[in-house]
Amino acid sequence: MRYLILLLLLSFQMSLSAAVVVAHNDVPVSNLDESKIRDFLLGRTTAFANGQTVVIVLCMDSAADDAMKKIVDRSANLLLRGWKRLVFSGSGAMPLQAATIQDAIALVARTPGAITILPLVESVPQTCRIIPLGGAGK
C-alpha cells in the first residue's frame, strides 16, 4: 500500500512537471536540475561533470515542444536555429533530431551520452532511463 501511494505521488509530480529527461544509460548523472538542462540545450555547456560529451536529441514533435518550452522557454525550432548559429559559426556541433517521440527515444537508446526532453512517457527501452528533473528551476 505504501509503495502504491509512493508510485501515485511520483506519477502526480511527474504529471505536474509534464517534462522528463530521457537519457542513455551511460549518462553519468542521476538527476538534473533545469538550469543545467537549459545550459545543455542552449549549447553553453557540452559535457557532463566527468567530461563525457553530451549528445542532445531534439524532438520536433509538437507535444515535445510543450515540454521543451517548460524547460528553456523556447520551441524546438527556435532551439534548432540557435544550434545552427553555433554550428555555422564554428562554436558547436549539431544536435541529433527526431521527428517523433518514439524516434527520439530510439535515438537516445542507441546513442551513448544522449539526452532528450519529452513529455511524460510510460516506458523506455532498457538501454535508457528517465532522469528526474529537480533543483533550481526558472
Binding site: 545550459d39 553553453r44 555547456t45 557540452t46 559535457a47 567530461g51 563525457q52 560529451t53 520536433m60 515542444d65 518550452k69 522557454d73 523556447r74 520551441s75 525550432n77 527556435l78 534548432l80 536555429r81 540557435g82 545552427k84 548559429r85 554550428v87 555555422f88 559559426s89 564554428g90 562554436s91 558547436g92 556541433a93 549539431m94 526558472k138
Partner: protein
Amino acid sequence: MLKRSWQKKGLFTAVMTTVVTVPHGAAEETSWAEALRLEAHGFASFGYLQTEGNNWLGQTENGTSEFWEAAANVIARPWDHVRIGAQIFARDLVKYDNGQPSLDWAYIDYRATDAIGVQVGRFKLPLGLYNEALDIDSARASIFLPPSVYSLRSRDLYISTDGAKAYGLLDIGGGGSLEYAAYGGKKEFSMDAGFATYVSELGVGDHVDDIVMDWQAGGFLHWHTPLDGLGLRLSGTYIDDFTADAFFTSSGLASYTRADYIFAFVSAIYEMSEVTIAAEYLRLRGRGETNVPGASLVIPLIDNYEGTYINTTWHAASWLDCFVGVEGAWVDASDRDGTRAYTWVAAVNLMPLSNWSLKVEFRDVYGELGINKGDNPGGIENHWQVLALKTTVDF
C-alpha cells in the same frame, strides 16, 4: 595576395588530415566516420535586392540577384573534450566579394570544463551579439543584421582572426552565469575580397596593393542574468597598426594609411518563448594618418563612428517570424548633425520546413551614410528604400 590566401588553405588541409588519420578508440565494427563523430553541414542563400532613391552596395536601383552566400563545413569530435572543424564560405554582395571563396574558420577546440576551453586556428570574432553569425541567414528572422552595427562592406575586417581564444561559462549561483571569451591573433586580407573594394572607395587610392594588421586582441563578457532570457554583453576588439597601401592610377601617386582601431559594443537581449528583443550600441575609434609622399601630403585619420539599433522578433508560429526594428548611425559621434542614417525595418520570415526559409525585408532610410558617391553619379537622395528577398536552404 592570392598566393597568401591559398597558403592559408593549407591550414584547412592540415585540420582535415588530422581528422582523417588520428584514430579514435572505437570498436572494430564502428565506421571511421562514426568513430570520429564526423558530421557535415552547409547552407546556400539566394536573394534579390532592389533599391529606390539610391544605388546601395553597387547597382541596385534596377534590381539585382548578385546577392547570395554559401558555406560548407566538416566537424569531427574524435575524443571527449575535443572538436575539430573547418568551413569554406563564399558570398556575392552586389559588387563586393563576387563569390570569392575563403576559409571561413578552421580550428581545434579543447573544452576542458564548462569554465575553460581553448580554440586555436581561425575563428569568428565574438563581437556584439551576432558577429559570429553574421553570414548565417538561417539564424535570424531578418535578411540583414543591422548595418548600423554590423557593417556589410567591411566584413573582412572583423569577421575572424587567426590565433587563439580562451572561453567558458562560469556559474555565479543566484546571480545567473557569466560567459566570456578572450582572444588574440592577426589576419591577412585578400585583395580579391570585398573589403579591398571598400577600402579603395574610402579615397586611399583606386587600386589597393596590400592590407595588413600587426595584431588584434579582444573579448567579451556576457551576463546571463537571473531573469531567464535576459542577457547583457560587453565586447570589443583592438586592432594594432592596420595598414592599407594603395595608389591612384591617374597620377601614379602612392598612399600609405596606418591606423589603430578600437571597436566597443554594448548589447542587451531578452529572449522569451514568442518574442526576442535585441538592442546594441557600437562605438568605433580609429586614429592614424594617410601619407601621400609624392604630394607631400599627410592626412590625419580620425574615425569616430557610432551606430545603434533596437529590434523585435515575434515568433508567431513554428513557420513564421515577424520582425521590426529601428537603426541609427553617425559617421562622427561628436557631430550628430553630420553624415548619418536613420532606418526603420520590417521583415517576415516564412519557414515551410525547418531547413528552408523565405524572407522579405523592407528598409526605409533617412540619410546618406552607407551610400557610395561613385555608385550614384547623379547625386545622393536623403530618403531611400530597400526591398530584399531571400531564400535559404541548409543541411
